[in-house]
C-alpha cells in the first residue's frame, strides 16, 4: 500500500476540517501550481491553542498531514506548537512515502505561518523560528511546497 492505515484514516476522516471565523491566526502555504495548498486557522486563548481548523487542496498525504498536525497542536501551548516538526507529524502517521515527505513539511509550515500571523495581528515581533525558509516563486515548486 502507498499509505499507512493511519494516513488513510486521517485522509478519509480528516479531523478539524473547516474554517474558524475571526481566527486569531491564519496561515496559508503552498502554491496551486504545485498542487498543494494548506490553510490553517488558530483560536488562541492566552498561550493555549484552544481550537484549530484547516482547509487543504492537495493529495492524500497533504490532507492526512493537515489533519494530524491540527490534532497534535490542539490544546497545546504556542511554545509546544512551535516545536512541532514535520518528522513528528510523519511519524505520528506511521510514516510517509519518501516523495510525500514534503507534505509534512507543508503542515509544519502552515502552523508556523498561522502562528506568525497571530503575532503580527497582535502587533508583536514574529519569532525568528516562525519565519519560513522558502517562498514559492512563480514557475517552480520549491521542496517545501510540492
Amino acid at each position: 500500500m502507498l499509505y499507512s492505515d493511519k494516513v488513510m484514516d486521517h485522509f478519509e476522516h480528516p479531523r478539524n476540517v473547516g474554517e474558524i471565523e475571526n481566527a486569531d491566526g491564519v496561515g496559508q502555504v503552498g502554491n496551486p501550481k504545485c498542487g498543494d495548498i494548506m490553510k490553517m486557522y488558530l483560536k488562541i486563548d492566552g498561550d493555549v491553542i484552544t481550537d484549530v481548523k484547516f482547509k487543504t487542496f492537495g493529495c492524500g498525504s497533504a490532507i492526512a498531514t493537515s489533519s494530524m498536525a491540527t490534532e497534535m497542536i490542539k490544546g497545546k501551548t504556542i511554545a509546544e506548537a512551535m516545536t512541532l516538526t514535520n518528522a513528528a507529524v510523519a511519524e505520528a502517521l506511521d510514516g510517509l512515502p519518501a516523495h510525500k515527505m514534503h507534505c509534512s513539511v507543508l503542515a509544519e509550515e502552515a502552523i508556523k505561518a498561522a502562528l506568525a500571523d497571530y503575532y503580527q495581528k497582535k502587533g508583536e515581533p514574529v519569532p525568528e523560528s516562525l519565519k519560513l525558509p522558502c517562498d514559492c516563486e512563480e514557475g517552480h515548486c520549491c521542496s517545501s511546497c510540492g
Binding site: 488513510m8 496551486p32 504545485c34
Partner: protein, 399 residues
C-alpha cells in the same frame, strides 16, 4: 472497502481474457519447449509462436514477418527510436533530427531526450487544446536531416486520436521513416499499417486483454532495425532472448478477440463513455480533456477545478471505483501531467485530473454508479479546499 467494485482504468491495464489465458496455459506446463530447440516437442511451441505472429500481423494488416515480439510497449518504443538512430549511424548519418510530439508517453519522450544527449536534435510538436497535432505543422518541421517522425496513435491520458494516416502520407511523401506508438490504439480502434503508411508501430499485450510482459514492434519490410537486445539470434536476430511463447500466444488470442468484436464493442463503450462525458462535464468548473469526438471509445477524461487528483482517486477507491489521474506510471511524480500542460491547462487545474477508461466488463450500471459518486467526491473535496469559494461556488483563483 466498498461492496461495489468498478474497474474503470483499462487504459492502465486490463485483466487477461479467458480466451487469452486458455491459449497460454498449455505453454507453461505441457508445451513448454524452447522454440529454438530442434526436437518436435519444442517445434510445436515454435509453431504456436508463429501462429501468434500471424494473428497479430493480421490484426494490423501486416505480414507475419513484419512483427517482432518484445517485452512490451516500452521496449518497442525504445527500440524504434534507438534502432532508427543506430541504423542511420550505420549508414553514415551519425546525428540527425527527430520529430515527435509534446504529448507522447514517457517511453518515447525519455528515449528522445536520451538521443538528444547523444547529439540528435528533437522537435517536440505542440498540440492544440484538444490534443491534436497539426499535420501542416508537422510537415513544416521536416528537415533534410530528419531521420524519424514518431507520433502516438492515441493518447493514454486524454484519449485523443491523431490523424495518423494523414501524417503517414506526409512522412512517405518526404521519405522519412514514421513510427507510431499505438499502445492505446491497438485492439481499441481499427489499425491498418498499410493505410496508415507507418514503418514502425508499437503495441503492448496487457492493454487489450493480453498478459503483461509482452508486446511487439511492427517493422515494415524491408526495414530491419539493428537489435536493441542481442544474443542467441531469436526473432531473426533482431530481438534475442528465449521467446516468451505463452505471452505471445496470449497476446495474439486477446488481440484477435478484441479485433473480432471491435465494431460492436467500441460502439457499446463509446455510448457509455459519452454518458460519462455528458454527466461529468455538466459539473461546474469541470472540463473534458482531449478531443470531444476523435477519442478512444472507452476513455473519458476530465479536470475539476479546485480538486487535487490523488485525493479524488483515493476517495473513489474507497467507493470501489478504480480510476487514474495523469498517467499511472508517473504517479510518484509531483509535477502535473505534461499532456495536460501541453493542451494548455494551467498548472493548478492540471492537478485536478481524472481519467476513466472503460472496458469489456463495464456496464451502464457502472457508469451510473460513477456518475453518482464522482460529483459527490468532487463536492466534498471542494468543500475542504482553500481554493474554492463556498459561497460563490467557484474557485478563488482567476486564471
Amino acid at each position: 472497502m466498498s461492496e461495489k467494485f468498478v474497474y474503470a482504468d483499462h487504459a492502465a491495464t486490463t485483466a487477461v481474457t479467458d480466451t487469452a489465458l486458455a491459449a497460454m496455459l498449455p505453454h507453461f506446463t505441457r508445451d513448454y519447449g524452447n522454440p529454438s530447440s530442434l526436437y518436435r516437442f519444442a517445434q510445436e511451441g515454435k509453431t504456436h509462436l508463429e501462429e501468434a505472429r500471424a494473428q497479430v500481423a493480421a490484426c494490423l494488416n501486416a505480414k507475419p514477418e513484419e512483427v517482432y515480439f518484445t517485452s512490451g510497449g516500452t521496449e518497442a518504443d525504445n527500440w524504434a527510436l534507438r534502432g532508427v538512430a543506430e541504423l542511420m549511424a550505420l549508414k553514415g548519418k551519425k546525428t540527425g533530427h527527430i520529430i515527435t510530439t509534446a504529448i507522447e508517453h514517457h517511453a518515447i519522450l525519455h528515449t528522445a531526450q536520451w538521443l538528444e544527449k547523444q547529439g540528435y536534435e528533437v522537435t517536440y510538436l505542440p498540440v492544440d487544446g484538444d490534443g491534436l497535432v497539426d499535420p501542416a505543422n508537422l510537415e513544416q518541421a521536416i528537415r533534410p536531416d530528419t531521420i524519424l517522425i514518431s507520433v502516438m496513435a492515441a493518447n493514454n491520458e486524454i484519449g485523443t486520436i491523431q490523424p495518423i494516416a494523414e501524417i503517414g502520407a506526409i512522412a512517405r511523401a518526404h521519405k522519412v521513416l514514421f513510427h507510431t506508438d499505438a499502445v492505446q490504439a491497438v485492439g481499441h480502434i481499427p489499425v491498418d499499417v498499410e493505410a496508415w503508411n507507418v514503418d514502425l508501430l508499437s503495441l503492448s499485450g496487457h492493454k487489450f486483454g493480453g498478459p503483461k510482459g509482452i508486446g511487439a514492434l511492427y517493422m515494415k519490410k524491408p526495414l530491419r532495425l539493428p537489435a536493441l537486445i542481442q544474443g542467441g539470434g531469436q526473432e531473426k536476430g533482431r530481438r534475442s532472448g528465449t521467446e516468451n511463447v505463452p505471452g505471445a500466444v496470449g497476446m495474439a488470442a486477446a488481440l484477435k478477440e478484441a479485433v473480432d468484436h471491435l465494431a460492436q464493442e467500441s460502439a457499446r463503450l463509446a455510448a457509455l463513455r459519452d454518458k460519462l462525458i455528458a454527466g461529468l462535464s455538466a459539473l461546474p468548473y469541470t472540463r473534458l480533456t482531449g478531443h470531444p469526438v476523435k477519442r478512444l471509445p472507452g476513455t473519458a477524461s476530465f479536470v475539476f477545478e479546485g480538486v487535487e487528483g490523488e485525493a479524488l482517486l483515493l476517495h473513489l477507491d474507497a467507493k470501489g471505483i478504480c480510476a487514474s489521474s495523469g498517467s499511472a506510471c508517473s504517479s510518484a511524480s509531483l509535477d502535473p501531467s505534461h499532456v495536460l500542460l501541453s493542451i494548455g491547462l494551467p498548472h493548478a487545474i492540471a492537478h485536478g485530473s481524472l481519467r476513466l477508461s472503460l472496458g469489456a466488463e463495464n456496464t451502464e450500471e457502472d457508469v451510473d454508479y460513477i456518475l453518482k459518486e464522482v460529483p459527490a467526491v468532487v463536492a466534498y473535496l471542494r468543500e475542504m479546499s482553500p481554493v474554492w469559494d463556498k459561497e460563490a461556488q467557484k474557485p478563488t483563483w482567476e486564471l
